[in-house]
C-alpha cells in the first residue's frame, strides 16, 4: 500500500522549513524502500506545530510536529507512517487537538485538509456547491441571502455586505459594465487570514467572486493582491487557470448563460492601497491617492463603473452562505456581529495561528485559552487589535467580548481580526512613535492633518521620550491627535491617533519616565 504523508506548503510553514522537511521525507522513503507519497497540503494554521507532518491512517490523520530537519531520521526509526507510534513529536489525531477542535471553521473548513490547487479536493469537500445553488437563483435572491446571513465586511469597516451588493445591483451602469474587486491588500500587521485563503483555498475566493458577479450583474473581477504575497499570486493564477478550463470562469459558467472573467493584479508596496478608493486608483494605473466619498465605489467605482469592493474574507464567506444557508451563518455570533471571524493570534504569543470562531468569546479567552500567553513567558502587557490603526488594549479591557459593537464601546476596533500581543518589555511610547512613523511612511499625502500631522507627531513623541517639557508636549500630542481624527479624509489619518491615544491613556507611565533609551528609533 502507498503511505500518504502531508507536509504543508503555505508561506509560514515554508518559512519554518517545510520544503526541506518534505524533501527529506522523500529522500528517507527512498532509502527505506517505502512506497510513500508526499503531498503538499495547505496548513491547518496551527503555527506553533508547523511544520506539521500528517499521515493518513484508518482513524484519520495523525500528526507530528513541529518537525525539524533533524527529526526525520528518528521519525523513520519509529515508523511514523503507521500513525499511532511512540515518538516525542507525536500529536495524536490532528482533528482532536483542542486548539483545532474548539474552533468553528465555517470559512476555513478545508484548511490543512486539501491540496490548494486540486479542483478534485475542493469539489470533494463541498467546493462549488454554493455556486451551483446560486446559479439557480435570481440576482435579488442571492443578495437577499447575503443580507439574511448578517455578513458584514471583514476588511475593517464592517459595512453590511448585502446592502453594498444591493446598491450595485440597483444602479444602472452607463457602459453596461460592473466590476467585482477583491481587496487582497492585507497590509495590517498581525493579519494573514487573507493570505491563507489565497494560498490554501484559492477556489473558495474564485467561487465567492463568481457568486458576487451573479448577484450584481458584473462580468469582470479583479483581485488586487499585495506584492508581499508572491505565493498567493502564484496559487491564485494557477487556480484561475484550472477554473477556466473547467467552466467555473469565462463564458457559460456551468453551462448557464452567465459570464465572469477574473484577473489578479499585483500591488506595489503601499499600505494606503488597501483603502478601497486608493485601491481603485491603483488598479487604474495611477498613484494610490484616496478619492473623496461620495460618490461611493458602489455607484462610481473602477473605471467609473459600479463596483463591489470586498475584502477576501467577506467574499470567502459567500460559498458557505450559499451552500449551507444564510441562517446557518447568521445563527452564530453575538449581537449584530453574525457568523465567524478568523482571528489571527500573533506577536509575542506562545501558540500563534489562525483561530476561526463565532463572534462572542472574550479577548482573554483567545489570548490565553488558545494563545497560551506570551512566547517569552513574561506577563502580557498590551495587545493591539485590528492592525496598525487599532487601539492598544490594556489588561482592564481584555475581558471584552469579540464583536464589532463590543469593541467600539471600548474605543477599540476588531478590524481584520489580527491580535498582536506584547509582553512587559514593551515600551509604549516607542509603539506610539511607530504608529506616527508608519503614517509618515504610508500616508497618501492628499490631506494636511495626515501628511504633516504624522511628521509632527513623531517629533513631539521624540521630545516626550527625551524628557523635554513632558506635560506640555503630551497636551500638544493630544491636540494633534484630535486634529488628525477630525480633519483627515480617510481612516489612515483618522485612525492613526487610536493607538497613540490608547497608549497615552492606559500606559502613561511609559511617556513620563525621565530617561528612556532612544536606541533603534532613528529615522528611516
Amino acid at each position: 500500500m502507498t503511505y500518504c504523508i502531508h507536509v504543508p506548503s503555505d508561506t509560514t510553514a515554508k518559512a519554518l522549513g517545510a520544503d526541506r522537511v518534505a524533501r527529506l521525507v522523500e529522500f528517507f522513503a527512498e532509502e527505506h524502500k517505502l512506497d510513500m507519497k508526499v503531498s503538499r497540503n495547505s496548513t491547518r494554521g496551527l503555527y506553533w506545530i508547523e511544520p506539521l507532518v500528517e499521515v493518513d491512517t484508518e482513524e484519520g490523520r495523525y500528526g507530528f510536529g513541529p518537525v525539524k530537519e533533524g527529526d526525520i531520521e528518528s521519525l523513520f526509526t519509529a515508523e511514523f507512517w503507521k500513525g499511532n507510534v511512540d515518538h516525542p513529536l507525536a500529536l495524536g489525531l490532528v482533528e482532536e487537538i483542542p486548539y483545532l477542535k474548539r474552533q468553528e471553521r465555517f470559512t476555513f473548513s478545508r484548511l490543512g485538509i486539501t491540496d490548494p490547487l486540486s479542483l478534485e479536493d475542493y469539489k470533494a469537500n463541498d467546493g462549488f456547491k454554493g455556486l451551483e445553488n446560486a446559479i439557480r437563483l435570481s440576482s435579488q435572491q442571492i443578495v437577499d441571502a447575503v443580507k439574511e446571513s448578517g455578513l458584514r465586511g471583514r476588511g475593517g469597516a464592517a459595512f453590511p455586505t448585502g446592502i453594498k451588493w444591493q446598491t450595485v445591483l440597483n444602479v444602472e451602469s452607463p457602459k453596461n459594465q460592473k466590476y467585482i474587486v477583491c481587496n487582497a491588500d492585507e497590509g495590517d500587521s498581525g493579519t494573514f487570514a487573507d493570505r491563507l485563503v489565497m494560498e490554501c483555498d484559492p477556489f473558495m475566493l474564485i467561487e465567492g467572486m463568481v457568486i458576487a458577479g451573479l448577484a450584481v450583474g458584473a462580468t469582470q473581477g479583479y483581485i488586487y493582491c499585495r506584492s508581499e504575497y508572491p505565493l498567493s499570486i502564484e496559487n491564485l493564477n494557477q487556480a484561475i487557470k484550472t477554473a477556466y478550463e473547467n467552466s467555473f470562469l469565462g463564458a457559460n459558467i456551468l453551462g448557464s448563460n452567465n459570464h465572469f472573467d477574473l484577473e489578479v493584479r499585483m500591488g506595489a508596496g503601499a499600505y494606503i492601497c488597501g483603502e478601497e478608493t486608493s485601491l481603485l486608483e491603483s488598479l487604474e494605473g495611477k498613484r494610490g491617492l484616496v478619492r473623496a466619498k461620495p460618490p461611493l465605489p458602489a455607484i462610481v467605482g473602477l473605471f467609473g463603473q459600479p463596483t463591489v469592493v470586498n475584502n477576501v474574507l467577506s467574499l470567502a464567506a459567500i460559498p458557505f452562505i450559499m451552500d449551507k444557508g444564510a441562517k446557518a451563518y447568521a445563527d452564530v455570533g453575538v449581537g449584530r456581529s453574525r457568523g465567524t471571524l478568523p482571528f489571527q493570534l500573533t506577536g509575542n504569543v506562545k501558540f500563534g495561528g489562525l483561530v476561526e470562531l463565532a463572534f462572542g468569546p472574550t479577548l482573554n479567552e483567545l489570548m490565553y485559552d488558545f494563545g497560551g500567553g506570551t512566547r517569552s513567558g513574561r506577563p502580557l502587557r498590551a495587545v493591539q487589535v485590528g492592525g496598525p490603526l487599532g487601539a492598544y488594549l490594556h489588561e482592564s479591557q481584555w475581558d471584552t467580548s469579540l464583536g464589532y459593537e463590543e469593541f467600539a464601546q471600548k474605543e477599540a476596533v476588531l478590524g481584520h481580526g489580527g491580535v498582536v500581543m506584547f509582553d512587559n518589555t514593551v515600551d509604549m511610547s516607542e509603539q506610539a512613535r511607530f504608529s506616527m512613523e508608519f503614517c509618515v511612511a504610508e500616508s497618501c499625502g492628499k490631506c494636511t492633518p495626515c501628511r504633516i500631522g504624522s511628521t509632527r507627531g513623531v517629533e513631539v513623541i521624540d521630545r516626550i521620550r527625551s524628557g523635554e517639557n513632558v506635560d506640555g508636549n503630551l497636551n500638544l500630542l493630544a491636540d494633534l491627535c484630535e486634529t488628525m481624527v477630525d480633519g483627515s479624509l480617510c481612516a489612515m489619518g483618522g485612525m492613526t491617533p487610536f493607538p497613540v491615544q490608547s497608549a497615552m491613556k492606559y500606559f502613561r507611565e511609559d511617556f513620563v519616565k525621565s530617561t528612556v533609551s532612544t536606541a533603534n528609533t532613528e529615522e528611516l
Binding site: 518559512a15 519554518l16 508581499e228 494605473g285 498613484r287 504569543v349
Partner: protein, 165 residues
C-alpha cells in the same frame, strides 16, 4: 536560494514587454512590475518608452513609480533582504534584529553593501506574524530570525548554495 536572473537594459526587450501590456485596462502597474522583474529596476530610458506607449507624460509615470515603495529607479544589489519592521515582529525583537542587520552589513535601509551583494529594505508585514521576526529574501520568507539566523542567511547568500537534497 535562487538568484534572480536579471537582464541588462535593452530597449527592444522593454518594447516587447510594453507591447504585451499596453492594451490592458489600467496597464501601468502590471507593466512597471514586468519591467522591474526583467531588469531589476526601472531605468530612466524605460520611463520614456512607457510614457510614449500609454500616452502619459514622463512626469506622470515618474509620479506613479515614486508613489510605490516596491518600485526602484536604481539597480539594487544581487539580493534584496527585507526585514519586517511592523508591530507583530516588533513584539518579538524585530527592532534588535534591524539594528543588528544594519551594523552587520554596514548599511542603512535602502543601501547596498560594498560588495554589491545585498540591498537592505524595510517591509511592513509579510503575513508571517505568528512566527516573527520575519525576513524576506527574494520570494522566500524566513521565520523566527535572530542575529544568529540572520548571519547564516547572509552567509548563504554569499555563495550560491548547492542543492544536495
Amino acid at each position: 536560494m535562487t538568484t534572480p536572473r536579471f537582464v541588462t537594459w535593452e530597449p527592444s526587450i522593454a518594447q516587447t514587454i510594453i507591447d504585451e501590456f499596453k492594451a490592458k485596462p489600467g496597464a501601468l502597474l502590471p507593466l512597471l512590475h514586468a519591467i522591474q522583474d526583467r531588469f531589476s529596476y526601472i531605468p530612466e530610458d524605460a520611463v520614456a518608452l512607457i510614457a510614449g506607449a500609454l500616452k502619459l507624460s514622463r512626469a506622470e509615470v515618474h509620479g506613479v513609480i515614486s508613489f510605490y515603495h516596491h518600485f526602484r529607479t536604481k539597480q539594487p544589489g544581487r539580493h534584496i533582504v527585507e526585514i519586517c519592521r511592523a508591530e507583530a515582529c516588533q513584539s518579538v525583537g524585530a527592532r534588535g534584529l534591524e539594528a543588528y542587520a544594519k551594523s552587520a552589513l554596514g548599511v542603512q535601509y535602502h543601501q547596498t553593501t560594498a560588495d554589491n551583494n545585498i540591498t537592505l529594505e524595510p517591509v511592513y508585514c509579510l503575513g508571517n506574524c505568528s512566527c516573527g521576526p520575519s525576513v524576506r529574501v527574494g520570494n522566500e520568507v524566513y521565520a523566527e530570525v535572530d542575529s544568529r539566523r540572520f548571519d547564516e542567511l547572509v552567509n548563504s547568500l554569499k555563495t550560491e548554495r548547492v542543492e544536495i537534497l
